[in-house]
Every structure is written in structure tokens, then in C-alpha cells.
Symmetry: C2
Subunit: 241 residues, 2 copies
């Protein structure tokens, strides 16, 4: 198909398609003469993914380019290819903005006899909340038997983001323990198995990796709203109206 | 405890505590003389929740005030109280910014013979993607047996946000069906049961509602990162490294 048809079928404005082409987010078409090129279904699929990442996932163009470089790397085995593409995506860290400044210590005016109530000094280099979160994630992964996640540890951005989130919750007075987290991790384990089951229905490693990226970036609001609906349903079941 | 101790124990700067008091997000203390008031553990708990909602959840002050009004409404039954507090929270809708403008029709320059490929005209008042998403959510809830969620329908912001997200995915070329969504909904059903099990360990309906709000607003990054870790683990298990 021609460029105009690509815009038409995807619903993406032509100026946006041309911008993605210039930025290298969409591979060039096959030249058919000096002014025209031919595009195929793989361009359409890629165009949809790029638009979804940018418009729905709010992912910066440079990040999209990095993710796609991994998606397109046929030299990688599937686990590494999936891992590299997913690791390049933004990870929600649930970190309080300004938290490090606050953690540097209470303001002068509040320093006084009650100081020790706050626990170990937050002015030392080691953040006790982060240390607690590190131990917690390690214990959780050991009990889950997630050996790959444990070996990779802080190399994985999901691991780092999880530790940061739990450290923030700990600092804010919501300490969680491994017993709290285990059932959620088990349900996410089931969800991940469904993710891969669906992914495996696609024919090529490239399409599979594209699907994994789309699902990671776009499927999160679906999961979070299903959780809210389920909470309402379960609450109604237990306590009536 | 005095105001300074409240700031100290919570780690919240005193100026911030005073701001929350002025904005009515934190109830006033018990006056003990012309210049001083006494605060208790319930103030500390509330202060942590408010700070977490604003700093971690990035929730606007007016929204926090509305959520807390429901948390504090002792006249409500637990399901309605929980529902009202959770419904007032922001819901992630996964909507493409500018999508309605795009959906208003292809640009002039792409109008041509291939026009009909795009399917039913997107210039009509009824958005076919939204209609498909509406039908899909209805089928899903029927198959799940979530009768409360189905009766409430679009009254529930989670229901509306789910429809909007699925309509966006549909428009972007990622149509899902009820078979795709069922296993995720079932895992979220389990997660919701754990949420309420934990919540029930707290002694009063007010503390229970506070916990539900904190968990909805703050626990989402934990779940999403556990999902990413689980995907990596399951991928390693199936395909090796």
C-alpha cells in the first residue's frame, strides 16, 4: 500500500506517519519510483504499536526507539529479546517527589527531645527504609522460587522499581511484609502465564515481542480497573449494600 | 502530642502539616490553650495517608478532600463507604490524548478510493469502538457473575475507565475479547479478596476505609512491577536464557 493508505488504514494523520518515518520509529517502505514507496502489513502493525506507545503509554520518542531496536534484534534469544524490550520501557516507581530531601532529616524547628521517636537517624548514608525494602524483596523472591528474578536482582528495572515503591510505602508508614505480598505475586504469576500463552499464538519472535511490549504498556489500565471493579464486587458480596 | 511532634513522627515538614490543617485535610487537634492543641494517633495515621495520596498518588488536594469526606462518613454502610471513597479517586483510563480529534475523520489529503477500508464512518455520532467496548464489558461481567458491577454499570468510574481503555485499544488495532479478559479478571478477583482480608484485620470501618484508599492509590505500582518480574520469570522458565 501507499503512504496515504497506511495513514488511512491506521487512522493516524499523514503528518504523524511522516514524522515517525523521519524519526526512524517506522522502517522505510520499499521504493517503487523516485517519489513513492510501498508499505505492507508489518508497517501497519508497527505504526499502531508506535502510536499506542506514544499516545496511550505516554512513552518518550527516544525510549520508543530503544524498545523497538530490541524488538527488531533477530540475533537475540526470545527471553533476552523480550527482557531487553520490556526493560527499556518506563517502570512505575511510586516514589514521592521530594522524598529524598525530606529523608535528609527533620527541619530544625522540630528537632528536640522527641527526636529519637523517628527511629534510626535519616541523616546517615544508608536509608533504613530502602534497606528494609531490599531484604523484603529478596525474601519474597526466595519464597516464590523466582530464581531468575533473584539472580538478576537490581539489574532488572522492575526489581529496582519494586524496591523503591516498597521503600516509599515503608517511609510513609505502610510497611508490608512477604506474607502480604505473596498472594499478589502468585496472582501476577498466573497473569504472566496468560500473557505468554496469548503471545505464543503469534507466528514470529518479532510479532511476539511487539505483542509483549503492547501488552506491558497498554494493558496496565485494564488490569487496574478490573481490580477496582473486583474490589467493589467482593465488598458487595461480603458486606451487602 | 503537639504539632511539632506530629511533624517529627510522620517525617512531614511542619509547614506542610500546617498547610494540610488549613486545607481541612487533617482534622484540628483538641485545643489545650490559646496557642496549642493536642494531636493523637488518628491524626498521625491521617497525615500519612494524606501525604501518600498527594506525593505518591499525585492526587489533587480537592480530590483528597472529597475522598476523605467519604472515609469519615460514619452514616454509610461499609460497601457504600468504601465505594464512595474509592470512586472519588482518579481512575487510569488509558485514553489517547487527541484521539477524539483523530476519530472525527481522516484528514482531507487521505480521503480517496481506499476510504471505505477504514470501516464504518468515524464521523457519525456513535463511536463504533466504544460500542464494541461497551458490549465486551457487559459480556465479561455477565460471564464473571459480577452482578453488582453489572447493575452499577457506567455509574462506576472503574467501569467507565475500563470501557474507555478497551475502546482505545480497539481503535488502535488491539481488539480484545471476553476470553482474553476472563483470566485477568479472575486473578484480580483473587487479589480483591486478599485486599479485603487484609482490610478486615483493622478494627474500625474508618480505618478499614483509610486502608482501602491507601491500598488502591499506592499499591498499584507494586502490582505492576510484580507483573513485570513475573513475566521475566515465566519467560525464562519457558524459553531459557
Amino acid at each position: 500500500m501507499r503512504l496515504a493508505d497506511l495513514g488511512e488504514r491506521s487512522g493516524v494523520p499523514l503528518a504523524t506517519v511522516k514524522y515517525y518515518l523521519r524519526e526512524g520509529l517506522l522502517p522505510p517502505g520499499r521504493r517503487i519510483n523516485a517519489t513513492q514507496a510501498e508499505y505492507d502489513e508489518s508497517h501497519l502493525r508497527r505504526l499502531r504499536l508506535v502510536r499506542a506507545m506514544i499516545q496511550v503509554g505516554r512513552i518518550p520518542v527516544a525510549t520508543v526507539r530503544e524498545v523497538l531496536a530490541h524488538v527488531d534484534d533477530d540475533s537475540l534469544g526470545l527471553t533476552v529479546r523480550l527482557g531487553a524490550a520490556l526493560w527499556a520501557l518506563p517502570h512505575p516507581a511510586g516514589e514521592a517527589p521530594g522524598a529524598p530531601a525530606e529523608a535528609a532529616g527533620p527541619s530544625r524547628e522540630t528537632a528536640g527531645p522527641s527526636r529519637e521517636v523517628a527511629g534510626p537517624s535519616r541523616e546517615t548514608a544508608v536509608d533504613p527504609h530502602r534497606a528494609a525494602a531490599d531484604l523484603l524483596v529478596d525474601e519474597l523472591l526466595a519464597r516464590l522460587g523466582w530464581s531468575a528474578a533473584r539472580e538478576l536482582g537490581a539489574l532488572s528495572p522492575a526489581h529496582r522499581a519494586l524496591v523503591t515503591t516498597l521503600a516509599t510505602l515503608h517511609r510513609l508508614g505502610y510497611p508490608l511484609d512477604a506474607d502480604d505480598l505473596l498472594p499478589y505475586a502468585r496472582t501476577m504469576e498466573q497473569a504472566a502465564a496468560h500473557d505468554l500463552d496469548r503471545m505464543e499464538q503469534l507466528p514470529t519472535p518479532r510479532e511476539q515481542t511487539e505483542y509483549a511490549v503492547a501488552s506491558a504498556a497498554l494493558f496496565e489500565p485494564v488490569l487496574l480497573n478490573l481490580r477496582r471493579l473486583a474490589q467493589c464486587e467482593e465488598s458487595n458480596r461480603r458486606y451487602g449494600l
